[in-house]
């Protein structure tokens, strides 16, 4: 796709070639639950932090899979680890550990 270097809205282009498989496997090794998210958005609906800022676990997981880990990190920075999302997740995902693991794996240390 041609990039003209400007646009009316921020680019939402996803380039899957940038997907870092090793990092993803590293994450899946510490928290395998990342694989089973079905993007239902229940977590986002109840999110404590989401009421005041733009944060969404669903979106963060998507961002990881769409090779945009920086976006995911930005979203998860607001999380208060309150655990509401883990209570409602229909897939029984251990969301708090997933959030910690994403931050831990993708942050530049």
């Amino acid at each position: 796709m041609v990039d003209f270097g400007f646009g009316l809205v921020p680019s939402s282009r996803i380039n899957l070639d940038l997907f870092d498989k090793d990092k993803y496997e590293e994450l899946a090794a510490v928290e395998p639950d990342v694989r089973i998210c079905m993007a239902c958005g229940s977590c986002t609906a109840v999110c404590t932090a989401g009421k005041f800022s733009t944060t969404s676990l669903r979106e963060a997981i998507e961002d990881i899979k769409n090779a945009q880990p920086t976006k995911a990190l930005e979203l998860l920075k607001a999380c208060q680890l309150c655990g509401k999302c883990s209570m409602v997740c229909p897939r029984g995902i251990n969301t708090r550990h997933l959030i910690l693991s994403i931050i831990n794996t993708y942050s530049i240390k």
């Binding site: 932090a49 680890l81 209570m87 708090r96 931050i103 831990n104």
Partner: protein
């Protein structure tokens, strides 16, 4: 009859005890002396290192605490109760308590009495340069009782020494037995000993039988009482006059030496470290690091007794045994970083191991410190909190403040002039639901019903959704992030001008009580608040025909020590039956936010175990006082397969106002 006093005086002329070996030395003492010297040096260096690692302010606090009368009394009480008599184990498992106290107290008395004997009969030998290190231990070998001159005092000591030796031997017999059949002593799981543990363990088992052997061989020379003399006669009967005692004394000394040499590397280090840990604990010093300073005393005070194995709710599955506190501490000792982190993250932080630990090792606190080493530095951004708190400000105040109700309930003290009440719009009672309660709106509804029924005028702090209390962040080791959240909530509460803060979530309750330091504001859990309402007659209740069982939520019971109020209230509402494990032994519902890595399958196994305990006496309703327990149990009850459970799960407030 000659008075005792004269008897005592008479013995001065004819010595009762004669130095059989004037040099006061024999080669067999070498193994023991080497062992004990090594151990004492190790301890000395360790203590200095440890105290050096503690922050200056804490160190000062520690020295000061040693001179405060209050802590002195507590120290003495704890040292005798915990280190020697093992009162805490007695209370739970009498036979196990007997075993521990027999070995600890019995041995202690043998050492003390041995020294007293030397001090009385050959005082010069107490001098370190004249063998003071080993002489009192092998006293019986070195002396000869002057026949016919044994006084009452001497026999009294002979009797005591034999008595305590028998006492220790009975403890050892139980310990050996326990290794093979632990369930008899009330333990389902025992720890796996490491190599040094084994060396120390087997030499400990051997020490006292060998001591009996050695002392019984010498009993006709150096005296003894019912036990040693009796055994001595038996030897004479068996072997005639050919009694070779030197090998026995050698073996006894070697075993002692081995034990002390292995001690610093084994669990038996706890015998001495426990003393330091109790002093530090009573001085109120908190660990700042999972491995250094106070924490070091704490992890070496763990006796690997394994009581935390049976305590831990994770251990309903055998595969989780390795995540127990005892192994966490063992790996901390060995600096095994990888395993330490895995274990630290698994735990539910239910605090049961801490509550039941005979030494009071606060393993959950160490785990939090360990998690902090990994998670505290992770980035966070709570800049939105500034606006969050103002929008979460009490605004949904549905009712007009009634000064009538306030005065009657005693919320506004009667002495407050009326004008003050009318003028200030400030709420007196603030209710903070918290995240988890918002997920279970039935609690909010019932709490509202209760407050209305009792005419309590309250303000709902986070009706429109507030922010988290900070406890989940703290449990995950993100102390700095938690401090930001806490600060924001604190500001909101202080600005509300309330004087009582009511919480329906024990997780919030714990952190509000311990970390918020809200001056002039009473922080209460709704079970306490409602119980007060019932007692004061503000809330009329009716006893119904219903069989209730109460589940102690971890953070409320063990966490904050609230056991009595919810039960008192429930007793007014129905018949309260017992769970098989309750109070500080209550089993976590499995939903705890404490665990970071436990998955849903493991959690449901824990929920089942907890349900089993609650259903022991066929209740109709399980009552809990925590939104997380409520949700977990509600789901667990419907999920238990292959069983016919007919029980409803209700929140405390729902039972009060159905």
């Amino acid at each position: 009859m000659t008075p005792l006093f004269h008897l005592l005086a008479a013995q001065a002329a004819d010595p009762e005890v004669i130095d059989r070996i004037p040099s006061g030395y024999s080669h067999f003492v070498i193994p023991f002396t080497i062992g004990i010297t090594f151990m004492l040096c190790w301890i000395g260096v360790g203590c200095i290192r440890l105290l050096y690692a503690i922050p200056q302010a804490d160190r000062l606090k520690f020295w000061k605490s040693l001179f405060l009368p209050k802590t002195i009394v507590k120290n003495l009480k704890d040292l005798f109760g915990d280190c020697l008599l093992h009162v805490k184990i007695w209370q739970r498992k009498p036979l196990l308590g007997y075993m521990h106290s027999a070995i600890a107290f019995g041995w202690f008395m043998l050492i003390v009495l041995g020294h007293i004997e030397v001090a009385l009969f050959v005082p010069a030998r107490l001098n370190v340069t004249r063998g003071g290190l080993f002489y009192p231990i092998f006293y019986r070998y070195f002396v000869w009782m002057n026949p016919g001159h044994t006084t009452l005092r001497g026999s009294f000591f002979f009797f005591l020494m034999d008595f305590f030796l028998l006492y220790v031997l009975s403890g050892i017999a139980l310990a050996v037995f326990k290794r093979f059949r632990s369930i008899v002593l009330g333990m389902r799981h025992t720890t796996k000993p490491s190599f040094a543990d084994r060396v120390a363990l087997y030499s400990l088992w051997m020490i006292f039988p060998l001591r009996l052997l050695a002392e019984s061989f010498t009993a006709d020379l150096s005296g003894g009482s019912f036990l040693t003399v009796g055994v001595n006669h038996f030897w004479h009967f068996l072997f005639g006059d050919k009694l070779w005692f030197t090998p026995c004394w050698w073996a006894y000394s070697i075993c002692l030496g081995l034990f002390f040499a292995a001690m610093p590397f084994s669990r038996y280090m706890h015998i001495l470290t426990e003393v330091l840990w109790i002093l530090l604990r009573n001085a109120g010093i908190q660990p700042h690091h999972p491995r250094k300073g106070v924490a070091e005393a704490e992890i070496y005070a763990c006796s690997s007794c394994g009581l935390c194995l049976d305590a831990c709710p994770m251990n309903v599955q055998k595969k989780n045994l390795k995540y127990s506190s005892v192994y966490f501490i063992r790996f901390l000792r060995r600096h095994n970083e990888k395993k330490i982190n895995a274990i630290a993250d698994k735990c539910l932080m239910c605090d049961k191991c801490h509550a039941l630990c005979p030494v009071g090792v606060d393993a959950p606190a160490l785990r939090r410190a360990q998690r902090a080493t990994v998670n505290n530095a992770l980035p966070y951004d709570y800049s939105y909190l500034a606006s969050a708190v103002s929008s979460g400000q009490p605004s949904g105040h549905g009712r007009v403040h009634s000064r009538f109700a306030a005065a009657e309930y005693g919320l506004g003290p009667a002495a407050v002039p009326e004008t003050a009440l009318t003028e200030s719009k400030s709420p007196r009672v603030l209710y903070f639901a918290g995240c988890m309660t918002h997920l279970t709106p039935r609690i909010i509804k019932s709490v509202d019903k209760v407050f209305k029924a009792a005419g309590v005028d309250y303000v709902f702090a986070d009706r429109e959704g507030g922010i988290c209390c900070g406890r989940p962040l703290m449990l995950a080791g993100r102390t700095e992030a938690a401090a930001v959240v806490i600060e924001a909530n604190k500001k909101m509460i202080e600005e509300s001008g309330c004087d009582t803060l009511v919480l329906s979530c024990p997780i919030c309750f714990k952190v509000f009580k311990e970390e918020y330091h809200l001056a002039g504001i009473k922080v209460v859990h709704y079970t306490q608040f409602i119980n007060d309402l019932i007692i004061s007659g503000r809330l009329p209740v009716q006893k119904k025909e219903q069989k209730l069982v109460y589940h102690d939520p971890c953070e409320l019971g063990r966490g904050c020590g609230v056991y009595f109020e919810p039960r008192a209230a429930l007793n007014q509402l129905g018949t309260l039956v017992k769970a098989s494990k309750e109070y500080d032994e209550s089993i976590c519902c499995g939903g705890s936010l404490g665990s970071l890595t436990l998955d849903s399958r493991d959690r449901s196994k824990i929920s089942e175990a907890s349900l089993d305990s609650l259903l022991a006496n066929d209740p109709e309703t399980i009552v809990t006082a925590c939104p997380l327990c409520l949700k977990t149990f509600s789901e667990a009850v419907s999920n238990v397969r292959g069983r016919d459970i007919n029980v409803s799960v209700k929140d405390f407030a729902e039972v009060v106002c159905p």
